[in-house]
């Protein structure tokens, strides 16, 4: 693991690392925010929020634009941001579109060639990356997960498919029902092939009914989001939750769009949600 960059941040540290990801058969970069508590005492380990970003992003967007570090520093919460796909693996067409290939791994394990050996972002974010950061950095195995758009959906399926692994989950403007929207259909057809039974294993709305753990879902969605009608469909997810009494809170945020200005406006609410589940003391208000 190679340290690329360190920046002091709110008494803690923002760092970028590069490592060889066995799961993806390529080099990957990730960013981490380590709160001051994790650096103050040798041996002290803090819980982690994993943040999965959306289409076209890499590991940097959230750290630069979400404004999460101030409260994370107060809470004693680390944040880990993986990249959104393998990079530089030289597959034909990998850079041809913003919603497939590079920057668009969709947090699934591809089964179709030529994507299969590399595009296994689900295993990477659920298994390999947490194992790496837990062994190399002052963080514990206590974890929560959140994300935005493609990554909001990624957070939901990581939690739904791994009962007991995450203490809490939330999402901003998730692609809530990918088998029924253009982004999801393109990604699933490319990574998973034509068998829609396979697709269904990677769709949060379809996973709700049989979820083995009823972890409450906190979802924020802007009403002025340009992708709401065609791509996101949070109401489908909410209906699926209601039909099996899966706890869900969908907050429709009036006038907000799909940008990081939206995420920044509500990230603190999500951090409080995760901090409570992780047993972190909340700052006095």
């Amino acid at each position: 693991m190679e340290l690329l960059l360190t920046n002091a941040s709110f008494g803690g540290e923002h760092r970028r690392y590069r490592h060889t990801a066995a799961t993806l058969e390529c080099q990957m970069e990730f960013s981490i925010f380590l709160p001051p508590q994790s650096l103050a005492e040798p041996g002290r380990k803090v819980p982690v929020l994993y943040w999965l970003s959306g289409l076209t992003c890499n590991d940097e967007n959230f750290m630069q634009k979400a404004g999460a570090q101030k409260l994370a520093a107060e809470l004693g919460l680390a944040i880990v941001c993986p990249d959104t796909s393998p990079r530089g693996v030289n597959l034909p067409g990998e850079d041809d579109s913003y919603d497939f290939g590079s920057g668009a791994g969709f947090y699934v394990n591809a089964t179709e060639q030529p994507w299969a050996p590399h595009y296994r972002m689900y295993d990477y974010v659920v298994k390999e990356l947490p194992q790496l950061v837990e062994s190399e950095l002052p963080v514990s195995a206590e974890k929560s997960i959140s994300g935005h758009s493609m990554g909001g959906h990624g957070a939901l399926i990581c939690a739904l498919k791994n009962p007991g692994l995450y203490r809490s989950v939330s999402a901003f403007a998730p692609v809530a029902h990918p088998v029924e929207c253009p982004w999801g259909q393109k990604a699933f057809a490319g990574y998973l092939g034509g068998n829609q039974e396979q697709w269904n294993q990677w769709d949060a709305t379809l996973l709700i009914a049989d979820a083995q753990e009823r972890l409450p879902l906190l979802i924020d969605q802007g009403t002025a989001d340009q992708f709401l009608a065609e791509q996101l469909n949070p109401q489908a997810l909410v209906r699926a939750c209601h039909s099996v009494n899966h706890p869900v809170t969908l907050r429709m945020q009036s006038g907000y769009d799909h940008s990081y200005f939206f995420i920044a406006s509500f990230i603190d609410d999500h951090l409080h949600h995760h901090a409570e589940a992780l047993g972190l003391a909340q700052p006095q208000l």
Copy 2:
């Protein structure tokens, strides 16, 4: 004035505008954060913090990376970010270096050809832009000013050269004594020519002695800033202040660098500083 973009943000709005800047003889873009108070009641005007960015930045960096909107929304403070130079004026060499020409206007009024007719960023940020936003947007003439690096110095000279215009001033890692550092010497030679008497009129450290208003200076400087030794020299400014009892607070922030991670970590302290001077009620802590 053409509205390019609106994003809801912390109950207020982030907006980008394009307009024809008479001072610069070109089209310019700027960003503004309007807090919720300015949008809630017709006729309500809020004070403004002008933020001057550093080399290579445009009007977007601060709005995306500083994390200032949350507290600005609570305070009822608008923030205006101009660009850092004229753009697209087709001068020979304008895009050849990161520290001169495009993205590097240094907030002076150029006297040398071919820069003189366009590179008048001082007049633009002190006069034209405030007049425009005060006439077109729900903001008052009550104003403060801050900035980073080249823009931190810009904020200092705008305040020092205009007694009574700003209620308060602050800076992050300013180029504190430009006539004595490579960035400043390159910019001043290019924009102002070879007469160093002219340069001295645009150097904050040299303006302190004769300042007509002893507005307190709040300055944050990271100790791990890669430009500290060669370019920034805040101690020269502090010595000049001490010699004439100009109030100055220089906070050396241990381990912090020149990045927006540094700015984000301390921007709230600066907003409180400006809010107090502007008579804004501070949020209950």
